[in-house]
Symmetry: D2
Subunit: 159 residues, 4 copies
C-alpha cells in the first residue's frame, strides 16, 4: 500500500533553468517523508495526509534521530512551478534491523492531465539513538505500523 502525500512547491524551488532544482527535490522528498512519519504532539498518528505510518517522534529532544545513509534519484521530467501540490507516492521498499528504505514516485498534481511521473527515488534511513549516537533496532510497534506499506522497492531504469 502506498501513501499519497500532497507536497506544495515554492517558487524558490526553481533554479536559473526555471525548473525545480535537482537538490531541492531532496527537500521535497524529505518533507513528504516527514509528513508521513511525523507523530502528532498528542502522540496520535493520524494527520493531514489521511493515513499515516507515523510512529517516530521527530520533535526536538526526541530519543531517535533519523539519519540519511543513501539516496538515489532518477529525474525523468523537468518540473515547472505550479500552484497545486505534487502528488508524492511513498512506500517502504525494505525494512532491515536498524534501517529502512523509503521509496518515492513524484507525480504531477492530482487531476492534472496527463498524469506525469517526474521523479523516482529511494532513501535509506538509519534509526539512531539520540543519547548514544548508535543505530538502534526498529521496534515491534514501528514494524507493525510500517508493514502495511511494504512493497517491492522502486525499480530504477538507469543504473
Amino acid at each position: 500500500m502506498r501513501l499519497h502525500v500532497p507536497t506544495p512547491l515554492r517558487w524558490s524551488d526553481l533554479d536559473a533553468y526555471g525548473h525545480v532544482n535537482n537538490a531541492r527535490m531532496l527537500s521535497l522528498l524529505e518533507e513528504a517523508r516527514i509528513q508521513a512519519f511525523w507523530v502528532n504532539d498528542d502522540g496520535t498518528a493520524e494527520h493531514a495526509v489521511g493515513r499515516s505510518t507515523a510512529v517516530i517522534d521527530a520533535s526536538p529532544g526526541a530519543t531517535t534521530l533519523t539519519l540519511i545513509a543513501r539516496q538515489e534519484v532518477e529525474y525523468l521530467e523537468a518540473i515547472p512551478y505550479q500552484r497545486l501540490p505534487l502528488d508524492i507516492e511513498l512506500w517502504i521498499g525494505r525494512m532491515g534491523g536498524a534501517s529502512l528504505e523509503v521509496c518515492y514516485e513524484v507525480h504531477s498534481p492530482v487531476g492534472a492531465e496527463p498524469r506525469t511521473l517526474y521523479t523516482r527515488a529511494a532513501t535509506t534511513i538509519v534509526l539512531v539513538d539520540a543519547a548514544t549516537g548508535k543505530p538502534r533496532r526498529i521496534g515491534e510497534h514501528e514494524r507493525a505500523a510500517w508493514e502495511p506499506y511494504l512493497e517491492a522497492p522502486v525499480e530504477f531504469r538507469h543504473r
Copy 2:
C-alpha cells in the same frame, strides 16, 4: 482588507538553532505573495486562498517582472517546525507609480492558542517590463484590483 495566505513550513526551513531561519522567512513571504498575486493559467484570478489580488502574470515568458527593491523584517518570536501552515496576513501599504509596498504579519496557524505574531515585514516591489528591463507603470486594471487591499503600512517598532 487583508488577505490570509496559509503558508506551510518545511523541516528544511529550520537552521541549526532549530527555528525557521531568518533568510528562509523571506522565501515564505515570497511564496505567500506569489499565492496572492498569481494569475491562473486560464487568466482568472480566484484561487486557493479564497480571495485574490492576482492580476500579474508571473509565469515564464510573462511580460512583467516583479523585482524586489527593498525588504524590512522584524523577527518577534522564534518559529518552530509545525505541521499546520502559518497564517500570513498580507496587504498593500502603499501604491506608487511603478512600485508597491506589500506588508505582512506572520501569525501562528489558524486555531492555535494563543495566537502568536511571529514576524512583521514589508517588501517594496517594482514592476519591470521584461522586454525593456525598465520600470513600467501600474495599470488601471491592476490598480482597481489592488485598491481594496490598501491599508496603512505595517508599523515597525524598532527603527
Copy 3:
C-alpha cells in the same frame, strides 16, 4: 574601520530570474557575518579574512546564541552568477546593551570594473544566553574587540 569579507556565490543562489535571489542574499550576509565573528577552535580570533572582530563562540554547545531581531535590505542592482567572491564590507553601526547592529555594503568582486554596489543592509543581533534564553549584556572584552569597527550606520535611501 570596515572588514572586507570575500563571499563566494553558488549557482544555486540564483532564482528563476537568473539573479541572486533576494532571500538568499540574507544567507550571504549571514555567512559574511559568521566569517567576521567566528572564533577559531583554538580560541584565537585571526582568520581567513585577515582582520576579525571574532569574539563570539558560535560553535555547537556555545554559551551565547546570536538571534536576529531585525533586517533591512536595499537591493540596488541585480547580481549575476560570477566565479569571483563578492566583496562584502561589514561594520558595526550601533552597539547597545545586549544588541548590536551590523551594517553591510555588498560590492562586485575586488578588481571588477566598474565597482558596483549591489546591496545595502543592516541586521540587528541580540546576544542571548543559551542556558536561560534571555538577552545578556555585551561583555567588556567583546566591546573592546568591536569598537574599532564602529562607524555611522548604513544610510538607506528609500525608507
Copy 4:
C-alpha cells in the same frame, strides 16, 4: 586523474540536526561541478581550481543546457560546519554519446587530521541543445578535454 575543488560550506547548509543537510550536499556537488566545468568569460579554461575540464559555456544564453538525469549519494559521515573548504575530488566515471557521469568523493579540508571521507556520489548529466531541447552529442573538443579525467566510476558500498 582527479580534480580537487575546494568547496566552502555555509552555516546555512546545516539543518536542525546541526550537520550539513543531505539535500544541501547536492548543491555543494553542483557548485564543485560548475567550478570544474565552467568556462571563463574570455573563453579560457584555467581557473581557481588550478586545472580544469572547463569546456562548457554555462552562462546565460549559452547554447548547451546540462540537465541532471540521475544522482546517487552515500552519506558516510555527518559533516559539521567548518571554516576551511571541503576538498571535493571530482572525476568522470563514464562518457557516453550525449551524457557523462561525474563522480565525487567529498573529503575533510586539506590538512585536516585525520582525513575523513564524508560522502561518495555520482551524477549523470545529459547535454541538451538549448534551442531544440533535445540531447546533443559530446563534441570532439569536449571529449579531448575530459579524457584525462576519465577513471573507473565510484564504487558504492550499499546498493
